[in-house]
C-alpha cells in the first residue's frame, strides 16, 4: 500500500504543469477571449509526447495510468488550457485502436457519449451553440459512449475542476494581499481568511478520492465528480466574493476560470447523474459500507 506518486511520476506531472503555466499565460487567454487568433499549442503537445501519455508503448506512447493523467488534467485545469488536450490524450487516445495520428497531433477527435451534449467545434461537426465561457466554441452533439470513455471523462473532468478550484483560490489570495481597504490588505481580515481556508480544505480532501477513482473506478468515480463539482462551485463563489465588485467584471481574470468550471460541472455526467448513482449505491443497494471497504 503506497498511495503516492513515484518521484518519476511526480517529475512528469511537474514538467507538464510548468509547460501549461508557461505557455498558456493569462495574456494568451485574454487574447482568445477577445476573439484574437493565437498560436495553437497542439504541435508542442505532440512534440513533448503529451498526447501519448496513456497510449501503449507499442503505439509510441508512455503507457501511464489514468491516475497520472488525472494529475496532468488537474494541471491543465489550473492553467485554464483552452485546447481540448485532456479530451484527446485522456479519453480519445485510450479508447482508440489506432491512435498514431492522434499522438502525432495530425488529427484530433472527440468521443461522443450520452453524458455530454456539447463538444468543442474543432473536434466534431454539428450545430453551433454559444457558451458563456469565451474560450469554448461548442457544437451540439448526440451519441452513445462507452463505459471506458464515461469513466475517463468523469475522472478527468473532476480533476480539471480541482485544478480550476486551486487556481481560483490562488488568484483570490493574490488579490486579497494586494487590495487594501480600511488601510489594510483585505486578506488580513479573518472573514476573508476563513472563507479561503474552507475552500482550501475542501480541495485537499477532493484530490485523493479523485486519485482513488482513477485507480479503482466503481462508486469512487461518482463520489469524485460530485465532490469536484461541489468544491469548484464553492471555490468560484468564494473567489468572486473575495474579489468584490472587481470579480463581477471582465477587468480581472477570475471569470475565465469560473466559467470553465461551470462548463465542466455539466460535462461527463452532471451532479444529478452522479448523485443518483451514489443514492442507488448507498441508500437503495446492499453494498458493504463502513470501515475497511474503501480500498478493498
Amino acid at each position: 500500500m503506497d498511495f503516492c506518486f513515484t518521484t518519476d511520476q511526480q517529475d512528469l506531472i511537474d514538467a507538464a504543469k510548468d509547460f501549461f503555466d508557461g505557455e498558456n499565460t493569462l495574456e494568451r487567454m485574454r487574447s482568445i477571449s477577445k476573439g484574437q487568433k493565437v498560436e495553437s499549442l497542439w504541435p508542442q503537445f505532440a512534440e513533448l509526447g503529451l498526447l501519448g501519455i496513456m497510449a501503449l508503448e507499442s503505439d509510441g506512447g508512455m503507457e501511464q495510468p489514468l491516475v497520472l493523467m488525472a494529475a496532468i488534467a488537474e494541471a491543465a485545469g489550473y492553467s485554464g488550457l483552452p485546447e481540448p488536450f485532456v479530451e484527446v490524450a485522456g479519453i480519445t487516445v485510450p479508447i482508440s485502436s489506432s491512435p498514431e495520428k492522434l499522438i502525432s497531433g495530425s488529427s484530433k477527435l472527440a468521443v461522443l457519449s450520452e453524458l455530454r451534449q456539447y463538444i468543442d467545434h474543432n473536434l466534431v461537426n454539428g450545430t453551433k451553440v454559444k457558451s458563456i465561457d469565451p474560450l469554448r466554441n461548442l457544437v451540439k452533439v448526440e451519441g452513445i459512449g462507452s463505459d471506458k470513455a464515461n469513466y475517463h471523462g468523469a475522472v478527468l473532468s473532476a480533476a480539471q475542476l480541482i485544478g480550476l478550484s486551486q487556481r481560483m483560490i490562488d488568484i483570490s489570495v493574490d488579490y486579497a494581499k494586494d487590495r487594501h481597504q480600511f488601510s489594510k490588505p483585505i486578506g488580513s481580515f479573518q472573514a476573508i481568511k476563513h472563507h479561503l481556508a474552507n475552500v482550501y480544505t475542501q480541495i485537499e480532501f477532493s484530490r485523493p478520492i479523485i486519485q482513488l477513482a482513477a485507480i479503482n473506478g466503481g462508486i469512487n468515480v461518482h463520489i469524485a465528480k460530485v465532490t469536484a463539482i461541489d468544491t469548484a462551485m464553492m471555490a468560484a463563489e468564494t473567489a468572486i466574493q473575495v474579489h468584490g465588485g472587481m470579480g463581477y467584471t471582465y477587468e480581472v481574470d477570475l471569470h475565465l476560470f469560473m466559467k470553465r468550471a461551470w462548463s465542466l460541472c455539466g460535462e461527463w455526467g452532471d451532479r444529478n447523474y452522479h448523485m443518483k448513482k451514489i443514492e442507488q449505491y448507498v441508500l437503495q443497494g446492499d453494498a458493504k459500507l463502513g470501515p475497511g471497504n474503501t480500498f478493498n
Binding site: 500500500m1 498511495f3 488580513s188 481556508a197 485523493p208 482513488l212 469512487n220
Partner: protein, 384 residues
C-alpha cells in the same frame, strides 16, 4: 503508486478481526467519563495490551508490534467495525506517546510508555487555562526550579479525563518573566501529587469528562521535564500536530458512524422529508474522502514526510463532517432525538451522545477558527 494491501497486511486484518470478535465486550461499557465506566475501560485497555493489540505501531520493547502506520489504519478499521469500546487511554497513546518517542530520553521512554500501553497509567492533557484557551501562549501556571525539583503553582482547566486519570502532561511557564511562546516547558505530573486538587467539571452530557486542576506548590522531579527546558511550545506543537493531524481521529471512527447513519435512515425512511437522503449520502461521501486522504497522508509519512500546517485542514474537515453527520441523525430521529437510554430511545441514546460530542470537535485541539487562521496565514500566505 500501488493501493494493494500486502499479503502480510491482509493476514494482519484477518488476525485482528478474529481476535476482536472473540474479545470485544458484548455489553456496551458505561461512559469512561463516569467513575465506574473509567475503570471498565481501563480493564479493556489491559485486555488489549495483554495480547499486544493496544498500540500496534509502537516499537515492541514498549508494548507494541513495531508495525507501520498502514497496519495501524487497518487495526482502526477493524476496531471500529467491531464496535469495540472507545480508548480511555487516547490522550496518552495518541498525543503524548508520539511526543515522548520524539523528545523523550531513553529513561523516559522506558518509564512512561509501557504502563501507558498497558492501561496502568492513564493520561490527561493539562494545557488550557481560564485565561489561555485559543490564546494558549497566555499560559500563566508557573514552575520554579528548586534543586532537582520544579515547584508548580497555578491552575489548568478543561483537562480531558483528568477527573479519574493518573497523570497529566502540562504546559507551564518555567522561565521567570518570560512571555507568550517563550519560556514554556512540558512537564509530566502525577495527578495524586501533594498540593494538586482536582475539581471535576460536568460536560454537556452531565458526566465529568473534564476537570479543573489547582496546583499549590506541587513538587515534581526535574526528570519529568519532556523535551528542552523553556522549549515547551515546540514540543506542544508536535503533540498538536498529532492531535489535529492523524492519530486521534482515524477515518474508521467516522466511516462506522456513517454506515450506522445509513441504517438509521433506512429504518425511518417513510417518515422523512426528501432532502434528508442527500444529507445521509453527503455524510458517507465525506467519510470516504477522509479515508482516501488519510491513506495518502500516511503513505507520505511512511516515506518520511512530516505533518505540519496541513493538520489544521484535517481537523477542520473531520470535525465539521462529524457535526453534520450527527445533526442529520438528530433530524432523522425527530421527537425521539432527545431520549437517553430506555423506553423509546434509539440505540440507547448513542446518537444524542455522539451529537453532543460532535459539538466539541470544532472546539477542542484548537478551535476551528484558530485552524482557519493557521491555514490562511501559514499555507495560503495571507497577512496577519
Amino acid at each position: 503508486m500501488n493501493i494493494e494491501f500486502t499479503s502480510k497486511q491482509k493476514e494482519f486484518r484477518e488476525e485482528i478481526r478474529a481476535w476482536l470478535s472473540a474479545h470485544v465486550p458484548k455489553k456496551r461499557l458505561k461512559s469512561f467519563d463516569t467513575e465506574e465506566g473509567f475503570e471498565q475501560h481501563r480493564d479493556w485497555e489491559r485486555i488489549l495490551a495483554k495480547d499486544k493489540w493496544g498500540n500496534v505501531n509502537w516499537p515492541t520493547q514498549y508494548g507494541g508490534r513495531g508495525l507501520d502506520l498502514i497496519s495501524w489504519l487497518i487495526f482502526e478499521e477493524e476496531y471500529y467495525r467491531s464496535d469495540a469500546p472507545l480508548r480511555v487511554s487516547q490522550n496518552g497513546i495518541f498525543l503524548l506517546a508520539p511526543t515522548i518517542m520524539e523528545y523523550g530520553t531513553e529513561a523516559q521512554k522506558a518509564r512512561f510508555l509501557p504502563p501507558m500501553a498497558s492501561g496502568e497509567e492513564i493520561w490527561a492533557q493539562a494545557w488550557s487555562e481560564n485565561g489561555a484557551g485559543s490564546d494558549m501562549a497566555a499560559i500563566r501556571t508557573k514552575a520554579v526550579r528548586d534543586g532537582d525539583h520544579y515547584i508548580i503553582t497555578g491552575q489548568k482547566t478543561w483537562s480531558s479525563r483528568a477527573a479519574f486519570a493518573d497523570w497529566c502532561f502540562a504546559l507551564v511557564r518555567t522561565e521567570e518573566g518570560s512571555s507568550r511562546h517563550k519560556g514554556l516547558s512540558k512537564i509530566l505530573i502525577p495527578l495524586n501529587s501533594k498540593g494538586l486538587l482536582r475539581r471535576p467539571i460536568a460536560q454537556l452530557d452531565g458526566d465529568p469528562g473534564f476537570a479543573e486542576l489547582f496546583f499549590d506548590e506541587v513538587r515534581v522531579p526535574v526528570e519529568n521535564l519532556l523535551g528542552p527546558e523553556h522549549g515547551g511550545w515546540g514540543v506542544a506543537m508536535s503533540t498538536a500536530g498529532f492531535e489535529r493531524g492523524l492519530l486521534l481521529r482515524s477515518p474508521a471512527r467516522f466511516q462506522s458512524a456513517a454506515a450506522r447513519l445509513v441504517k438509521l435512515y433506512k429504518s425511518r425512511e417513510k417518515y422523512l422529508s426528501s432532502g434528508v437522503g442527500e444529507k445521509v449520502i453527503q455524510a458517507w461521501i465525506d467519510t470516504e474522502r477522509f479515508c482516501a486522504a488519510t491513506y495518502q497522508l500516511v503513505s507520505r509519512v511512511e516515506k518520511g514526510a512530516s505533518i505540519s500546517s496541513e493538520s489544521s485542514a484535517n481537523k477542520l474537515f473531520w470535525s465539521e463532517m462529524d457535526k453534520q453527520m450527527h445533526r442529520t441523525a438528530m433530524t432523522i430521529m425527530g421527537a425521539q432525538a432527545e431520549l437517553e437510554e430506555g423506553l423509546d430511545s434509539i440505540e440507547n441514546g448513542r446518537w444524542l451522545d455522539g451529537y453532543m460530542f460532535s459539538l466539541a470537535g470544532p472546539i477542542y485541539a484548537g478551535t476551528n477558527e484558530i485552524q482557519r487562521n493557521i491555514l490562511a496565514e501559514r499555507v495560503l500566505g495571507l497577512p496577519r
